[in-house]
């Protein structure tokens, strides 16, 4: 192999440089279990050098709401995965405190895998360069203002999101 080939390999395909890859995630759910997929994907993309923008809408806004981000809960009723994973039969899932208990258990499991709590994870992806948007219409509906959201949140309408996501791979979670 010639030296030039080696240099090109290390650089990693010069064609990539002309058009950087971009990932746009739409985070629409705010339960503890559904907060992690967009964050894990965003973080993986950033670690690989892919540009990331995340649009938080509806219940997904809880992930970037300061008062809620570290108190997200997993549903114990109407969640078919609950029984095999946490051994909570559906008929018991509705008892007071069940959701809290399952959430505590899940937080422990997440921590054991070396993943940070939601708030810290959000700070990490923002520090790593992700752009974070709050859906204007959902925020109005939930009476949220910019001060309620994690630092760095930009408020955006759906049409503006169409502009920022131009040319990106878009993923709805």
């Amino acid at each position: 192999m010639t030296n030039a080939d080696i240099l090109a390999k290390i650089k990693g395909g010069s064609s990539d440089k002309d058009k950087p890859r971009k990932l746009c995630l739409i985070a629409s759910k705010g339960s503890l279990d559904m907060a992690y997929p967009p964050l894990i994907l965003a973080n993986a993309a950033l670690m690989s050098g892919i540009e990331v923008e995340i649009f938080f809408t509806f219940w997904g806004l809880d992930i970037i709401t300061k008062k809620k981000m570290d108190k997200l809960q997993v549903a114990t009723v109407g969640n078919p995965n609950m029984h095999p994973m946490f051994h909570i039969p559906t008929f018991l899932g509705g008892l007071p405190g069940m959701s809290y208990l399952a959430s505590v258990m899940m937080r422990k499991e997440i921590d054991a895998l070396g993943f940070p709590p939601v708030g810290e994870f959000m700070e990490t992806v923002i520090d790593a360069g992700a752009k974070v948007y709050g859906c204007k219409m959902s925020m109005d509906m939930m009476k949220l203002t910019e001060e309620d959201m994690i630092d760095g949140t930009e408020i955006l309408g759906a049409m503006e999101f169409m502009e920022v996501s131009e040319g990106a791979q878009v993923l709805f979670v």
Binding site: L7, I10, I40, L46, G49
Partner: protein, 106 residues
Amino acid sequence: MTLTADFSVLETLEFDDDGFLANASDWTEDIAIAVAAVLEIELTEMHWQVINFARAEFEANGEAPTIRRITKAGGVPTKELYSLFPGGAAKTAAKIAGLPKPTGCI
């Protein structure tokens, strides 16, 4: 390429298809300087802190540390890590430190 280095140290080495050093044991500091120059990075003391931490972790555990481990135990904040190693901190740092392509999710 704006940075110059002794690229001849790379000639006899084997790299995988993504540009990661095939054998981590072949790595030397001169290789790190040359690979960094290819990626247009001039290594500073902070870079070496990360590289040496990653190498030590790899030798101890057999795998490259995750970005979270570098920020938590290695003491380099996330923001700084990404500005030290542009183009994806995990990949760029592993290339320079001569470690295999990172596979961790965090």
